[in-house]
């Protein structure tokens, strides 16, 4: 499979972080994704929009194969991350998920201390072949919390349970805990939908700040957010990708009439 095939119309030609080809996915008998082709540019923020039930979450959850927890999901086609064939049964799931961090719609910190939440990844993946010692741990925690703008708020309460923080802090913590194992791709499924406007703004700002260091694929229901916070935009409808272009041109003059209708709010 050649990586140098013609780019999707409108997409900027750069190395692809994710390359999805002919992806079909079934929940039991129900087909949720139909022949999805997608090329996500490395280092950019790509937003995934579309009406409720169109398959955004499904597509996102296929990339780190967390969909397979359900047990009744069947997939055909291919997903490549920097050339790694994700759907190959011999892929090391742990290694895959180390490179691909996921942020969920509902903040889901582990029922551990803030510190243990941040260090969880290093204890699972042992980047140096062993868990970090006290000093290294302190450094990792501080660095990760600084990156998500939580350090000043939480530096004195690292022993608090992650589940006791405010929702905004929880969601930031959920982003922070991905960073110590240095993922290359972050998948975010409506990361702000459980937050109030101030929290939304803070997390959006944070996501924007992470741009460039990470490739980010973010699902959102919020047009303004997609417009503000992403460089490329993908519009899905009923399990198919209808349009994919850079955000500015999609919102200024969408190529597809359905895209236009959705952006103008006619789908809800």
């Amino acid at each position: 499979m050649s990586v140098a095939e013609p780019a999707t119309p409108g997409a900027v030609d750069a190395s692809a972080a994710i390359l999805v080809e002919k992806l079909n996915l079934w929940y039991g008998d129900f087909q949720a994704l139909l022949d999805v082709d997608l090329r996500v540019r490395a280092g950019a923020i790509t937003s995934l929009i579309g009406p409720s039930g169109c398959g955004k979450t499904t597509l996102l959850r296929s990339v780190n194969r967390i969909n397979e927890r359900l047990g009744y999901v069947r997939t055909t086609g291919s997903i490549r991350l920097w050339g790694l064939d994700v759907l190959d049964p011999s892929v090391e799931i742990a290694q895959l998920r180390k490179q691909v961090g996921m942020v969920f719609q509902r903040p889901n910190p582990l029922p551990l201390s803030v510190r243990d939440n941040v260090l969880f990844g290093t204890r699972v993946h042992l980047p140096d072949g062993r868990p970090p010692n006290r000093v290294e741990g302190d450094r990792i925690v501080e660095e990760a919390l600084r990156q998500v703008l939580l350090w000043d708020e939480l530096k004195d309460s690292l022993d608090r349970r992650g589940t006791e923080l405010s929702l905004e802090q929880q969601q930031k913590l959920c982003i922070a805990r991905l960073l110590p194992v240095k993922p290359r791709l972050l998948l975010m499924d409506e990361p702000c939908s459980a937050l109030d406007p101030a929290g939304t703004e803070a997390v959006e700002e944070l996501i924007w700040k992470l741009r460039g260091d990470y490739t980010i694929l973010i699902v959102t229901h919020n047009m303004a957010q997609a417009r503000r916070a992403s460089e490329e935009c993908v519009f899905m409808l009923l399990g198919e990708i209808i349009e994919h272009s850079d955000t500015a041109s999609m919102f200024l003059n969408p190529a597809n009439s359905q895209t236009a209708a959705y952006i103008e709010g006619r789908y809800g």
Binding site: N108, V124, H221
Partner: protein, 317 residues
């Protein structure tokens, strides 16, 4: 009841049935409380005479000499009996905790589909085996086995009773522990798996710590069960008064003492009162254990409930 002509006052059959059921259910609930209170009052009253007249704290908790039938100098030291119950229960926990935790983890976190359902039914069946059957196993299987394997003169001892009691308590502990694991929100597992944790890592680093309260409660209820168990212990422990120094010593349990001696005492005698005092002690200890278990279970529930609050609706454009 005065008849009113008001149209809204429709006391038809359904209304009466509803009233009757309410009263019946209330009576059922109250009677449970009345029975418990009644039992406690009865035991206390029967033991009270002994507690106030003859009871000597130092002797009761400090002396291993339990000779209530001695004609010239009866003594009522319960230390050996308490030590017997404690040693058997302690060993039982050593046996049952790993068994039941292992089984609960396998059933709750790893087994799926048919295997899981079959195992759950099997565990519940095990819990239904009557204790006299366990006692019988202790007498006729464990006893010769222990004599043969360890080359000791008697096989009815702490080891025998402890193993039997452990196996007996394991099914109920498994069921409660599995409930505790099931109460851990699946989002925790999903979050950990999405970070690349394997099933084992998810279980040990996330699920077990999150379920800790429920697991402690399961263990405590097992301890309570062991404390109160009578028949199997009576049959397997050797029933001789002893401060045990090794697992191969025969012992006698509090419960077994009451069961074996109560029928032969005269109501109102010192011996009779002493046995009821043992009963009060057992009652208080099991009550404390169950109460502690309850506190732990509630603690666990509250934690998860807080976590489980629903998210606000997502903002649409």
């Amino acid at each position: 009841m005065p008849e009113t002509a008001h149209a809204a006052d429709r006391r038809d059959a359904a209304w009466w049935v509803d009233r009757a059921v309410q009263i019946l259910v209330l009576a059922g609930g109250l009677s449970a409380i009345v029975f418990i209170a009644g039992i406690f009052v009865f035991i206390t009253r029967e033991g009270a005479g002994f507690v106030f007249d003859r009871f000597d704290f130092r002797e009761f908790f400090g002396s291993p000499r339990w000779t209530p039938t001695s004609s010239h100098n009866p003594t009522y030291g319960a230390l050996a009996l308490i030590a017997g119950t404690a040693s058997v229960t302690g060993l039982a926990m050593v046996v049952s905790v790993p068994f039941s935790l292992g089984a609960a983890i396998y059933i709750g976190e790893f087994a799926t589909g048919r295997v899981r359902e079959t195992l759950k039914v099997l565990v519940e069946l095990l819990a239904a085996i009557p204790s006299v059957v366990w006692g019988f196993i202790g007498l006729s299987i464990m006893n010769p086995l222990i004599i043969q394997v360890f080359d000791v003169p008697v096989g009815l001892n702490v080891l025998n009773a402890g193993v039997i009691l452990g196996l007996m308590a394991a099914p109920i502990m498994t069921t409660i522990a599995e409930d505790a694991l099931k109460a851990v929100p699946d989002t925790y597992r999903e979050a950990a798996e999405a970070m690349g944790a394997t099933r084992w890592q998810v279980t040990f680093k996330v699920v077990l710590p999150a379920a800790r309260n429920g697991l402690v409660a399961a263990t405590l209820l097992g301890v309570g069960r062991g404390f109160g168990e009578t028949m199997a212990v009576l049959m397997a422990s050797g029933h001789s008064i002893n401060l045990p120094t090794s697992p191969f010593d025969s012992v006698r349990a509090l419960t077994a003492t009451i069961a074996a001696e109560l029928g032969e005492t005269a109501a109102g005698s010192d011996h009779y009162g002493a046995l009821f005092t043992l009963g009060i002690f057992l009652f208080l200890v099991t009550f404390a254990i169950n109460f502690a278990a309850d506190v732990f279970v509630r603690g666990g529930q509250r934690k998860h409930r807080r976590r489980g609050r629903r998210p606000a609706a997502s903002a649409n454009p």
